[in-house]
């Protein structure tokens, strides 16, 4: 069984770059809030980092 048969329910490849771009944007945002090692960002998002259980400190 080929990969395309295994995942034939997936979206058409035409829109794949756009989906990838949206997913990367999501990753970038989550990284910014949860992981960015900038002190001011850490301090602003501090209670969220703890609340969402991102590793913090």
């Amino acid at each position: 069984m080929t990969q395309s048969q295994a995942f034939r329910t997936l979206a058409s490849t035409r829109v794949l770059p756009q989906i990838l771009a949206a997913a990367l944007l999501g990753l970038f945002i989550v990284y910014g809030v949860g992981f960015a090692p900038v002190s001011a960002v850490h301090n602003a998002a501090h209670d969220v980092r703890h609340g969402v259980a991102f590793p913090c400190h």
Binding site: L10, A22, V30, D47
Partner: protein
């Protein structure tokens, strides 16, 4: 497609993030503040900007909640689009449960939510373990749910289990500055908040994604 994902993610992320901002205000944030009272003696604050306690801190937290909501929403709606089928609120809730498992419950098995002042292993290995666990859980759960060949499903289960077989980075000494009852309450409050977030996000995103799609039939 990008516009559709972005609009659905904005609507669902702002709504679910707003719910979390309210929930945290009456839930985890109070516990964080209580824990910080135990921590002040040992804490090493530097000179960088931090929101002042009170409204400024609430506003910073609420803002970060909205941004976090939008970020997770982009990831979830991208997964909808990759799947390429209508979602609706029922399936949206299932997707939300999956998001809760991938981003919250499974990482929490190794790295439970932590109050300030808790004893913990160095930050970098914990962040790495968290990221790898989320990635492995996401791919594993995806294979388990959508792959046809059973070998892929088995691989999915192995992927989900793998980070926990390796084990999360643990501190040399356990415990922390906050009392154990406070820690337990915080873990429950944090996980409950995350569960509500993902259920709201999934349901709203599922409806929004469908509504924003091309009109067919």
């Amino acid at each position: 497609m990008f516009t559709r994902i972005a609009l659905a993610a904005l609507v669902a992320g702002l709504l679910a993030g707003g719910v979390v901002a309210l929930a945290q205000t009456v839930g985890t944030t109070d516990l964080i503040l209580a824990a910080e009272a135990f921590e002040t003696a040992t804490d090493s604050h530097d000179d960088t900007w931090a929101p002042a306690d009170g409204f400024e801190r609430f506003a910073a937290t609420a803002g970060a909640d909205l941004v976090t909501g939008i970020g997770f929403a982009f990831l979830l709606v991208s997964a909808f689009a990759l799947r390429g089928r209508p979602v609706g609120w029922r399936n949206g809730i299932l997707w939300g449960l999956a998001g809760f498992a991938v981003f919250s419950a499974l990482p929490a098995l190794g790295l439970p939510p932590e109050l300030p002042g808790a004893a913990a292993a160095p930050l970098a290995p914990r962040q790495l373990w968290w990221l790898l666990t989320v990635a492995a859980s996401g791919v594993g759960l995806g294979a388990l749910a959508f792959a046809k060949p059973s070998l892929w499903k088995v691989a999915g289960v192995v992927l989900i289990a793998l980070p926990h077989l390796i084990g999360a980075p643990v501190p040399d000494t356990h415990g922390g500055l906050a009392p154990a009852t406070l820690v337990e309450t915080f873990v429950l409050a944090s996980l409950a908040t995350a569960a509500v977030f993902w259920l709201v996000l999934g349901a709203v995103a599922g409806v929004a994604y469908d509504r924003l799609g091309p009109r067919s039939a």
